[in-house]
Amino acid sequence: MKKVRGLGLGKSYSGKLFVVEGCDGSGKSTQLYLLKRWLEAKGYVVFFTEWNSSVLVKDSTSKAKKKNLLTPTTFSLIHASDFADRYEKLILPHLRAGYIVLCDRYKYTAYARDFARGCDPEWVKNVYEFAVKPTVTFYFQAPLEVSISRILLGRPQLKYHEAGMDMGWSNDPIESFKIFQGKIKNNYDAMIEEEGFTVIDAVGSIEDQQVIVRKIVGEKLARYKAPYIPITG
């Protein structure tokens, strides 16, 4: 049982938390989806959640982004609120009830982006201190050119904040996006050791990557006991 820190409450959890992290276009969502299919086929009940999807905060986040009145600090805090809402309502309760939780992006996404926007790293880490360390954090590492070309191929129009246009690095969205993604990648790379990331080479074939991911997850589940699920109907 791992200890959970949250607003001064000592709680422990018996579930498993698997997280995928990496730059846009690193292929991490595909890998997590395949992992989910595999786990479900094995009969596990799996809870999946992704970044920036809390119903509560979503509206104001998108409104604020449209108005472009966010600063690096409010940008950071509004995403932290969104994450905290999902964390308190969904992630932590599922972990405490003993389930397998899959997260497409976790607090490290916030670290990488907020550091790039100029927030103080120690401050950002403190904000997210309530979130437990995952069982495994897979970092899908790809050369910058690879992830950027994957994104630009599928999305001709980059969104304002996605491209980091709010930072004034460049007036050209594509140029700005490249600078932003470069900073994010450097931040991820710098976290590998400190946060104990499991690095997956995201240039390999989808199948090869999935074999590695499943092997590692399988090992972590060797002694995992799924919570009792009553069979109905």
């Binding site: 509560l56 609120s81 927030c119």
Partner: protein, 230 residues
């Protein structure tokens, strides 16, 4: 000695390093008389020729609505609510307070980080976490704390609203199933947190039980001395 600009890590990307304005905070629980005092101070300062911005918690447009909506249904986790209030505070600090201070205004803040911290600490938040979280807050020039007995607050709340508010009575933390009982306990706890912070943050404690005029004179005198000393 140069006064510290921020409590903690600050805003590393902020280009303004000096703020010629003055930040004056009025702290105290609900019904302690803050807004009345601020309205009078604003009038007085403007007549004296100072440019004044008065601002308070929960007035920002960024997440104010989310907080309001969520409180209606009581559907937010404690950490989420903390962070939303913090977002709102940061929004006002960066978009209102700092620009006004940079332009030389006297900013009268109707509550500041201390109320947010007191509320969260009563709800079990870690003090270290909160102090680091609000490390981007500017250190005010003066912090007045309106000290009012919980019993007095209770009667003021009745005469002001006609009933006790769920949140202002701390009903979310289940101190008592009875609203009146909960209100008293909750405000005792808040008072303890404010008192704890008095030393740490250098609050100027003023007697919130005094009449409006007397209290105003006390506060004006202190502000006068401060402004003339500069």
């Amino acid at each position: 000695m140069e006064k510290k600009l921020f409590y903690g890590t600050g805003l590393p990307y902020l280009s303004t390093k000096s703020l010629p304005g003055k930040l004056i905070v009025i702290e105290g629980p609900d019904c302690s008389g803050r807004s009345t005092q601020i309205a009078l101070l604003k009038e007085w300062l403007e007549v004296k020729g100072n440019a004044v911005l008065d601002t308070g918690l929960k007035r920002s447009t960024l997440v104010g609505n989310v907080i309001m909506e969520a409180k209606k249904g009581n559907i937010l986790g404690k950490t989420t609510l903390s962070l939303l209030y913090c977002t709102d505070f940061a929004d006002q600090l960066e978009n209102k307070l700092i620009p006004a201070l940079a332009a030389g205004y006297i900013v009268l803040a109707d509550r500041y980080i201390y109320t947010l911290m007191a509320r969260d600490m009563v709800r079990g938040a870690s003090k270290t976490w909160l102090k680091n979280l609000f490390g981007f807050a500017l250190v005010p020039d003066l912090i007045f704390y309106l000290d009012v007995d919980p019993e007095t607050l209770l009667h003021r709340a009745f005469s002001k609203y006609g009933q006790l508010d769920y949140w202002e009575s701390g009903m979310d933390i289940h101190l008592s199933g009875d609203t009146l009982e909960s209100f008293k306990k909750y405000h005792e706890l808040l008072k303890m947190e404010y008192e704890e912070m008095t030393r740490e943050y250098g609050f100027i404690v003023v007697n919130g039980e005094d009449g409006v005029d007397k209290l105003q004179m006390v506060i004006r005198n202190i502000i006068n001395i401060f402004l003339e000393g500069k």
